[in-house]
């Protein structure tokens, strides 16, 4: 599997570290209640199909990416810098 890094181009999966579903981009407020934090930290949709997820290009440019990948076919339909996605 190759991931399309917006900075480096198509790169092998081995160059990336996986952080899972891109929930970190919508972190709850510190004083949100336990159910909201549980939802953020532990609960996942986890359905087959397209998933927005966070990958770090550790062995490349070091950028955090938001990659949209199909969890059944591994087809990738988009990748952007997390710094831009978070805006």
């Amino acid at each position: 599997m190759r991931l399309p890094c917006p900075i480096c181009g198509d790169r092998d999966r081995r160059e990336f570290y996986y952080q899972g579903s891109a929930v970190a981009l919508s972190r709850p407020a510190p004083d949100a209640d336990a159910a909201v934090w549980e939802n953020y930290v532990h609960l996942r949709e986890n359905q087959p199909g397209d998933l927005d997820e966070l990958w770090s290009h550790d062995a490349g440019c070091g950028a955090w990416l938001v990659v949209t990948r199909n969890t059944v076919t591994h087809a990738i339909s988009g990748a952007k810098l997390a710094s831009e996605a978070a805006r």
Binding site: G20, V41, N46, L51
Partner: protein, 424 residues
């Protein structure tokens, strides 16, 4: 009893009798019933854990108006595609008594089921490669003994006596010793599913294959039944036992679970003469191995490490596993790999399972077995049946709560890596 075993069930006498009379007396292991309009309990998922649940509901609690609904065929998921290891070497209270209970059930399983699951207590040796790792394994061994199970800390010479074919002087990771769990071993995975299926069916449970659940009916906060590809079926209680597909089933009840589905690969070589007598795990890379009764070397490693429902693995993980194999036992390089496959694992944030009620009346969940569900099969079924029948958790499964991820109390993080997805 002796006469019974001549005419039904399995025994040496029966094999002899059938052999002498043309093997014409054998019958199918289970019926193929049409679904009834209503059951007391519906189990969603005809894998090892679902079938075990049905068996124990019938045999321990006398509840036989039960259906197991399976979208494919019985035992066609992870119970039919795993590395078959059975052990009780967990450390944390909450896990250790559960797996200890499971191993005891394994030890009586063939008599209970009248079925040869080829349970083989050949022993598991977890290798360690540093002083720090020895300390950690000594601690784990003491915890196992405190739980009432067995563990022996082997030094290097002790491992050499048992496993002379390993490369003990690898440049980077020489073998310091191993933790030997003699009651651990393997079992024939398909036979476990078939044995539980036969046990449940013979007591009146309906095993309904090619029947996919497409909806869960909920009224006023309580379950009423399910919609399936073979029509609606009413039920007073529903148990969700869908392993890697748990999140999809739970979504039908409007629930999100603390689960990400990941792929775990395994590999088998061509059949060889007996050469590996134990289950061996490498301590400095992701690799473990045993030899099946058919002769194939069965081995595996770690997850592919990203969410996947693909049922097939990636090359980087396969490479890592094979590199670790060649480091530990160069002799394996002579064997030709026959096949590899990937199963969908229901990974929880803390790496431990869930057997619990849900917030919906009559809806129960059994999930989160990560990459270790096979050895748990008897205890998972036994304790889930107890919960479904009595509405109280079984004493050895009471720590496997769903709400531990909300409260933070009772997180069962065996690897001490933190309760967070992608760390186990």
């Amino acid at each position: 009893m002796g006469f019974d075993r001549l005419t039904k069930g399995f025994s040496g006498l029966r094999v002899l009798k059938e052999g002498l009379t043309g093997n014409k007396g054998w019958t199918p292991h289970w019926r193929d019933p049409e679904p009834k309009p209503e059951y007391d309990i519906i189990i969603i998922g005809g894998g090892g854990h679902g079938l075990a649940t049905a068996h124990y509901l019938a045999s321990q609690h006398g509840i036989t108006n039960v259906a197991v609904l399976e979208k494919g065929y019985l035992g066609g998921g992870n119970v039919g595609r795993n590395t078959t290891i059975v052990r009780a070497n967990y450390m944390l209270p909450g896990n250790s008594e559960f797996y200890s209970h499971s191993l005891k059930l394994w030890e009586g399983l063939e008599q209970d089921l009248n079925y040869n699951v080829m349970h083989s207590q050949r022993g598991i040796i977890n290798l360690f490669h540093s002083d720090g790792q020895r300390d950690a394994f000594a601690r784990r061994g003491n915890q196992m003994i405190a739980q009432g199970d067995d563990a022996i800390l082997l030094d290097r010479e002790g491992v050499q006596r048992e496993l002379p074919y390993l490369d003990f002087d690898q440049t980077r990771f020489p073998i310091y010793g191993g933790l030997y769990h003699k009651r651990g071993g393997t079992a024939r995975h398909d036979a476990v599913a078939w044995g539980f299926a036969r046990g449940a069916d013979s007591r009146g449970v309906d095993l309904i294959q090619q029947c996919e659940v497409t909806g869960i009916d909920i009224e006023n906060g309580a379950v009423r039944g399910v919609q399936t590809t073979r029509g609606p079926i009413r039920a007073k209680k529903i148990g969700m036992v869908a392993a890697g597909r748990s999140s999809q089933v739970a979504a039908m009840a409007g629930m999100r679970l603390p689960i990400e589905s990941h792929i775990l690969q395994a590999f088998v070589t061509e059949g060889l003469k007996p050469c590996i007598d134990h289950v061996i795990t490498y301590g400095m890379g992701h690799f473990y191995i045993s030899q099946s009764d058919k002769g194939g070397l069965v081995f595996g490693g770690d997850l592919d490490m990203y969410s996947s429902y693909a049922s097939r693995g990636n090359l980087p993980t396969a490479e890592h596993v094979v590199e670790a194999a060649m480091t530990l036992m160069p002799v394996i390089g002579k064997a030709r790999m026959l096949r590899s496959w990937g199963g969908i694992m229901d990974m929880t944030p803390d790496g431990s399972p869930v057997i619990d009620r849900t917030h919906i009346d009559g809806l129960y969940v059994n999930c989160g077995w990560c990459y270790g569900g096979f050895k748990a099969t008897p205890a998972s079924g036994h304790t889930f049946a107890h919960l479904l029948a009595t509405d109280t958790p079984h004493p050895v499964a009471k720590a496997l709560r769903l709400d531990r991820f909300r409260t933070g109390r009772g997180i069962l993080d065996e690897e001490a890596s933190g309760s967070q997805h992608n760390l186990h």
